[in-house]
Symmetry: C2
C-alpha cells in the first residue's frame, strides 16, 4: 500500500517533516512517498501547492496526507480547499496555548530557528568549529574546553556523533581514536588521566565494524573481521577497567546516540 | 512573564522539542524555561516525570506546558494526571491517520530515526564524510561526486552549511574558499569551469563578516572591516558575472540556509 504525503510550511518545513516521520513510523505496512514544500508564504505559492496536491490526488485516486505548519489564516483557508487529509499542526495546539497564556499568538510567519537567541546560535557554530578542530585526536591541548571527549576505535561513529552534538545542542565534543597500540598497552593514552570525567566510550559490534570498514577500504588488514574482533574486545575491556560510561552504536542512529549520551551524562541539551 | 515547558518522549525527544519551539515562537513576549525528558519508556520513569512536573507546578504556582509524544496508552494515562497543560502530539493526529489508512497504528514506541531505511541512513553518514574530506578546498579531485559545491569567502558559513546538508539530507556538499588572489584575478579558480552547474555562492554582509572574523582572530589584517568590505564587494561581483546562484547568510540560521539552497536548486531533500 502506497500513500503520498506532503509536508508544507511557510518556513523550512523541518518541523512538519519530523512530526510527520514520527507519526507515520506507526504505520509500518504503508510505503509513503513524501514531498516537502517549504517557504510557501504567499497566496500565489499556496495556490500552486494546492494545484500540485490536487493533481496528486487525481493521479492516485486517493487524497494525499498533508502536514501543514502554515500560520497565516488567509493562506490556511486556501489550503483547506485542497483534496487532501490536512493535518493542521498549528491550529490544534495554538488555541490551548493562547488560553493558557491569556494572550493572542502573533500569527506571524514563525521563525523558530532565526529567532532563537543569537548567543545560543553562535554557540552551536562555535561548537561545530570545535568538533572539527578536535576531530580524530587533533589538538589535545584544547581538551580543557571540551564538554565531552568521545573515545572509540576507528569507524565507530565518533565524528558524526561529535558533529551532531555540536550542531543540534551546541555541545563541545572532542573525539579521540583508540588505536591498536593503545589497546596492546592495555592503557588509556597519557592525556586521558587529566580529563577522566569527560571521557565517553563508543562501543560497536565487530561484524558491523567490519562491514563499515570494508565499504571504505576493502581488502586491507585493517578491515578484516579478525582485526575488528581484536579491537572491539580490547576496547570494551578498557572501558570496563577504567570505568568509562559507554553506548553501543551498532544499531542506533546518530540522533539516538547523541541524545542517549546527553541523558547518561550531565550535559545540557 | 515566564512559563515552564517540558518536552517528554519515549524516544529522543527531538520531535517534541522542534514542534514546541515552532509553536512557542508565536508567543514572543513570554520567557520559556524548557526541559527535555527523553527515553521515558517505563511506568517508573513516567511516575518520576509526573513528580518532577508536579513539583514545578507547585513551585511556580502555574501549570507547566507539556508536549508529549508518548505512544503507549497505559503510560499516557499516567501522564494525563500530571499538573500540566498536556499537549498530546500523538493522540490528536493518529486517529485521523488510522481512519484514512483503515488500519490501526502499531502503538509501539516509535523509532522514526532507527527505522528509516538503512540505505538512506548510510547515505547521510557517507555525506558527512564527504563534506569533511572536501572541506575548505580539500580534494578537488572528488568534485565529480559532489551534489553541490559551495563557494564563499572565509567565514561566510560554508562548512556548517555543508555539514548540515550532509547530516540532515544526505546531500554531498563540497566547499571551496574564494581567496583574495582569486578575487584580484577577477576569475573563478581553474577547476570551476568543469563543474559550473554545481556551484552555489554564499553571500554575507561585510560588517557581519568583520564581527565573525574578529571573534576568531582579533587584530589581524584579515579581520579588518576594510578587508571584509573588499572581499565581499568583489565576490558578489564575481557571482553576478559568472551567473552563480546565491544566498545571503547574514541573518539566516544554518537550517534556513540549507533548506533555501535546496529550494533554489534541483537537490532532493
Amino acid at each position: 500500500m502506497k500513500r503520498s504525503v506532503f509536508y508544507l510550511s511557510d518556513q523550512t518545513g523541518l518541523t512538519a517533516e519530523l512530526l510527520g516521520q514520527t507519526l507515520l513510523s506507526q504505520f509500518e505496512s504503508i510505503d509513503f512517498i513524501t514531498q516537502t514544500l517549504p517557504y510557501i508564504d504567499s497566496e500565489k505559492k499556496v495556490l500552486e501547492a494546492v494545484d500540485l496536491i490536487n493533481r496528486n490526488a487525481q493521479e492516485n485516486g486517493t487524497k494525499p496526507i498533508l502536514f501543514s505548519t502554515l500560520v497565516q489564516p488567509e493562506l490556511k483557508a486556501i489550503l483547506h480547499n485542497s483534496q487532501s487529509l490536512m493535518l493542521d499542526v498549528f491550529e490544534h495546539f495554538i488555541a490551548p496555548l493562547e488560553q493558557a497564556f491569556q494572550i493572542h499568538s502573533t500569527h506571524r510567519v514563525g521563525k523558530p530557528h532565526s529567532s532563537e537567541n543569537k548567543e545560543a546560535y553562535d554557540n552551536r557554530i562555535q561548537a561545530v568549529n570545535y568538533a572539527l578542530n578536535t576531530d580524530d585526536g587533533l589538538s589535545i591541548k584544547q581538551y580543557a574546553k571540551a564538554d565531552i571527549i568521545l573515545l572509540g576505535v576507528s569507524r565507530s561513529g565518533k565524528t558524526p556523533t561529535a558533529l551532531y552534538l555540536a550542531m543540534q545542542f551546541g555541545i563541545q565534543a572532542a573525539n579521540y581514536p583508540i588505536t591498536e597500540d593503545d589497546l596492546e598497552n592495555h592503557e588509556l593514552p597519557t592525556w586521558a588521566e587529566q580529563f577522566k570525567d569527560k571521557l565517553f566510550g563508543l562501543k560497536i559490534e565487530a561484524h558491523r565494524l567490519h562491514e563499515i570498514r570494508t565499504e571504505r577500504r576493502a581488502n586491507s588488514p585493517y578491515t578484516s573481521l579478525q582485526q575488528c574482533e581484536f579491537e572491539v574486545k580490547h576496547i570494551h575491556k578498557l572501558y570496563v577497567r577504567e570505568d568509562i560510561p559507554t553506548i553501543d552504536t551498532t544499531i542506533r542512529s546518530i540522533e539516538e546516540i547523541a541524545t542517549k549520551i546527553i541523558a547518561k551524562t550531565n550535559l545540557k541539551r
